[in-house]
Symmetry: C2
Subunit: 255 residues, 2 copies
């Protein structure tokens, strides 16, 4: 860590007004200079999506006096890219995303806008962490998260992260966590994913819903195992999705 | 492969009217029963994004007589999920996405809606391939792609793919490819990512642009190396982004 005050870029996918964002900002302010650049409204499930055809605008949220906060009419990844390009006075020392209102454990990470922002920063070589609380409510209680977020964030700021590795941190909702476990994302799948409706014109439409099924719930290698037992899970995530060890098999298949 | 006619689910991220989609449908129709479920307009850069707050609607595109084609007012992943839930008569034997108008080589895969659909199908255990042509134009010439797409798709249908592996196939734009190379996604980064404008009210806005920089252009391990030399690149992609080998190092860091 360099000697100047750390510059901390904060974003999320629940939008600039989400309580989880402001809880995170307040936790990080004793650690460094916080600048938040977040979507102007909810962007859950936006993954690594980028806005390619719509003009993006940045606005300072002057209604918030406790921190320097900007809103962007785009995705979490847009926020990171625009923050780097336009808002920040220099390259940040860390990107912190969250606190997400809801779990990003198991394979939910693939859809997560919280983690999309983290992966973007990681690809830019910036240490990056996503924090999620296992509670979807807008009124979720974040009071127990500060101590753990402070500890993890300071350690990453002090020691950095390995090249092309970022962290997906999930925090149990309703009690004091027993500790931290570094683990893998649990395999799982969604079922019954849509609810069907009929609109006033008699046409069908569909809303996403569904149940998440943990495919290996008793395996202590996985994040959901530890979250079920009131531990904080930390999954190292890599942006590169190449399955290098499958190359020989695919080469055989196509030859 | 089972003995009945293969059921082929087709989607893309350029939307239901993109010539690349119809070129792909025509290439695949001799192989099996094709049903296409694609976004109702361009969704480039949508990655694995899902629509969580907006009603989704499915419409049969009756203007197209050459195939059974549906449009969805959502993302490529929404198309796969809704196709599975609502449109298809049974589980498909393969998901084929594309042909994308433009490259999804290197780390562009992280933003790709074409590949978002492929990764979604892979997580559902369905063999899945994304095809992209290295030409952005709506008027791109796809005539040389059919032979290669036919070959690769038939081999995957016949032999399947390893568990939790899908394929990202990029095809050179302007000549007959010299062959197929199975390889890794090249490391790279984007620079100068936004163009700044001033609207009629004097307010600034930003549009995504930029240059892609290949960070290791002379390394034959990578897809861009082979694409530059007029080969088709095939990158095995895994949905799970856990960096398992980093777990001991992160455990040390946080202890």
């Amino acid at each position: 860590m360099n000697q100047q005050t750390p510059l901390i870029l904060v974003t999320n996918d629940d939008g600039v007004h989400a309580p989880g964002l402001h809880s995170l900002i307040r936790t990080l302010q004793p650690i460094g200079q916080v600048i938040a650049v977040a979507p102007d409204g909810p962007r859950s499930g936006q993954a690594s999506a980028i806005t390619v055809e719509t003009p993006l605008r940045i606005n300072r949220c002057t209604a918030y006096s406790h921190a320097e906060i900007y809103s962007v009419n785009g995705t979490p990844v847009d926020c990171v890219k625009l923050a780097m390009h336009t808002v920040l006075p220099r390259r940040p020392d860390i990107l912190v995303s969250g606190i997400n209102h809801g779990s990003n454990s198991g394979n939910c990470v693939i859809y997560s806008g919280t983690m999309g922002a983290v992966i973007e920063a990681c690809m830019l070589g910036i240490p990056a962490i996503g924090y999620s609380l296992l509670h979807h409510s807008i009124a979720a209680d974040f009071s127990h998260t500060g101590k753990w977020i402070d500890t993890i964030t300071r350690k990453v700021l002090e020691q950095g992260l390995p090249n092309q590795v970022c962290l997906n941190v999930n925090i149990p909702a309703e009690c004091q966590p027993k500790g931290i476990k570094v683990c893998e994302a649990a395999p799982g799948h969604w079922s019954e994913e849509y609810q069907e409706y009929t609109d006033p014109m008699g046409r069908k439409f569909y809303m996403l819903t569904g149940h998440y099924n943990n495919d290996d719930p008793e395996n202590p290698a996985y994040d959901n195992y530890w979250l079920d037992r009131q531990y904080i899970s930390v999954v190292p995530v890599r942006p590169d999705q190449t399955y290098t060890s499958a190359i020989p098999q695919i080469t055989d298949l196509l030859s």
